[in-house]
Symmetry: C2
Subunit: 477 residues, 2 copies
Amino acid sequence: MNTKSVSELLEQDVTLQQVSVKGWVRTFRANRFIALNDGSTINNIQCVVDFENFDEALLKRITTGAAIHIEGELVESQGKGQNVEIVVSSIEVLGDSDPETYPIQPKKHTFEFLRENAHLRTRTNTFSAVMRIKSTLSFAVHKYFTENGFYNMHTPMITGSDAEGAGEMFRITTLDAKNPPLDENGDVDFKQDFFGKEANLTVSGQLEAETYAMSLGKVYTFGPTFRAENSNTSRHLAEFWMIEPEVAFMDLAGNMDLAEDFIKSVISYVLEHNQEDLKFLDERLFNEEKSKPQTERSEMRLIEKLKFVTDNNFKRVSYTEAIDILRNSKPNKKKKFKYLINEWGADLQSEHERFLVEKHFKCPVILFDYPANIKAFYMRLNDDEKTVRAMDVLFPGIGEIIGGSQREERLDVLKQKMAALDIPEEELWWYLDLRKYGTAVHSGFGLGFERLVMFATGMSNIRDVIPYPRTPQNAEF
Amino acid sequence: MNTKSVSELLEQDVTLQQVSVKGWVRTFRANRFIALNDGSTINNIQCVVDFENFDEALLKRITTGAAIHIEGELVESQGKGQNVEIVVSSIEVLGDSDPETYPIQPKKHTFEFLRENAHLRTRTNTFSAVMRIKSTLSFAVHKYFTENGFYNMHTPMITGSDAEGAGEMFRITTLDAKNPPLDENGDVDFKQDFFGKEANLTVSGQLEAETYAMSLGKVYTFGPTFRAENSNTSRHLAEFWMIEPEVAFMDLAGNMDLAEDFIKSVISYVLEHNQEDLKFLDERLFNEEKSKPQTERSEMRLIEKLKFVTDNNFKRVSYTEAIDILRNSKPNKKKKFKYLINEWGADLQSEHERFLVEKHFKCPVILFDYPANIKAFYMRLNDDEKTVRAMDVLFPGIGEIIGGSQREERLDVLKQKMAALDIPEEELWWYLDLRKYGTAVHSGFGLGFERLVMFATGMSNIRDVIPYPRTPQNAEF
């Protein structure tokens, strides 16, 4: 008999057939009802055991977490909560699970406890739902870009350049840690290291993606990036995945259109394909927030919030307009902001972004045309020579989810900006070549994938949306 | 007027319309015919210029590599090689390309030269075709697994464990390179390093993928992996991408079925979606091989070889059978093998694998049930206690393209094997937990993505199927 998955069985409309299924026991009630799950769906299949027909020693091994093989007849369910159930004819225990020591018991565990048992936490409803949704989102990303004429490319993890400037980097090496070889000046001789020079883990694939955009037209990367920053927050990881599209002949307005269309598309895809997982997480969040004071609860439930994003236009606001709004805002006047906004040129903090999104506009916001001196060297200088064609997409509850820009395509301007920041031209000769040979307007953005997953699942700690989070002092598993 | 891509224009069947297109000049013949490409297809669109209507100074700037914006009328082409062409009404040069210095001239460049100009090499037909096919293959991978009920997961790049044993690792660190902090024994104090212990770049996501298979059922990873091995060959990279599915309740026979079905599916997908790119590469390889002596030429052309894989069953052969075949083979008897096969237990070298695939069976081969002592600790020991449930898929021209196994699911056997290899249990406590709590038969494999791309494109050096190859002494770009 062919073994079927739980999701296949729950979708069967032909009952009274013999079936075979393998999975892990979630609960075993009254020596009679096994709730069996195999990860294919958030739902369990109920397996009804006539305990008088089974050996007592066998039944004792049906414990939470045990792997079992069930055969029996698929019938219409008498109980509520499911359409079908299995009347069990045979049970084989594949792997026991000692109830005295198995950590994932059928009760509420804290997320902190589950992080310590990250290798087992996808055996819970919450984490299996999160990871199924994450997988759907990942596929939606590839599908969106593929259907829109983009080519996927693999930008390198290991980089010999440290000019990207997006953050602190990890060094990678095969030199002896204690006694590295030294050169004649007494400095570490990186010529003897694996790559013949100092090498680091990338903070972004953007610069390399630009090279491919300037030949293949529309490209995207989707891979790991790294930050060696000592940030122990619920929004930062040392290793996370980034989605970075880059498009030739596209300006900042096109970039905003792309960002908005992209996010709406992938969220729609999840709304369509993960209804049961979302329903579970929606309930979970709603119940969790019941214990909070009214003022700290979300104004919208999870699914409502996702639909709000897909159904509404993102508000596009220039940095200059945003500063005006913030300067005249209540929290600024009443000195409730930690960083008060006094003048044009101030860098916006998370509190300001959240005010704009959650209190003022009450919808996703795209801020654009930022002051040049608070943004990266590669961003296109506007004719005012004060602002650059940068954009940030801000989301409720998350803050910045996308950062992007039109890139500086003029060789002379780019060289001036690099010189002002002491970035040697030899480091980025190939990047400058793009401006020497057939340069053109082009734009792109970066989206931190885990932040998108947080938004789509309602999880509030980024450590809970990646299988094995890497953070300061932590590389367990 | 909406700007269209070259591929969109070439597919138009409505002519006599005004069109706008942007791209890079490939050639400009007779002051009249611009071949324009924007990366959307291997084909150029021909733009016909009536030079008497344009300024001579402007026409001089139409050089290979220049970015231009063309407007004009799309008409049926008079020449051969294309259905439509553009009668140009306006030309705007977006970015010049100095013909004296631009490296990618319309002539044959060696692959070595193009590797030094990797940031521009996708402006050639060969590399743009390779990268478009690679992108299609990547999508085909995600599509195959998604449609077959697998969940994508992101296994970590950074690992605190060095027990995976698949190869030499890179250390990642933020400690001072010259004067690292020392502990009381005078050793480097990795407690002060970013992760609080020594950390490395992963060689495989398998062990972590097993944790998710044992909860979500069917999962796969598709991400970078690393080897700090000093191998300067045409088949090895220090950084490459690996596809690793892992499935609960699946044995070695199921694993072989999955591997074969998977490869056939993704290659069929490319045959269907990249016909023009494949046709170009097929011609390229055929012409390249003309200069070789008959005996060194491929027996099949590229497309023929891909169809051969999708249309034929892979031959499944046990290691023991393979040893018999090799022992009695001509090259063994005539001592033509570098490593002669004398007895059962010998590790197979590339020359043996190629003999089996290319000379003996003349089709892809799956070897299985290898001697335990030449394979990894986590592979399922057979009842003979001499062999393990390992499999390697061998491809013509490539050799090993997939390595996989059924995993040892028995706690006591796994512990014994780890002890024999001095792998401390504390290092892999979470991996052992999978065998303590609801263990079950499970299997998976790893496929080096760049080797698949080599096979699908006919490229013979792995450095030519990844944008920016990382190899010993080389992390340029």
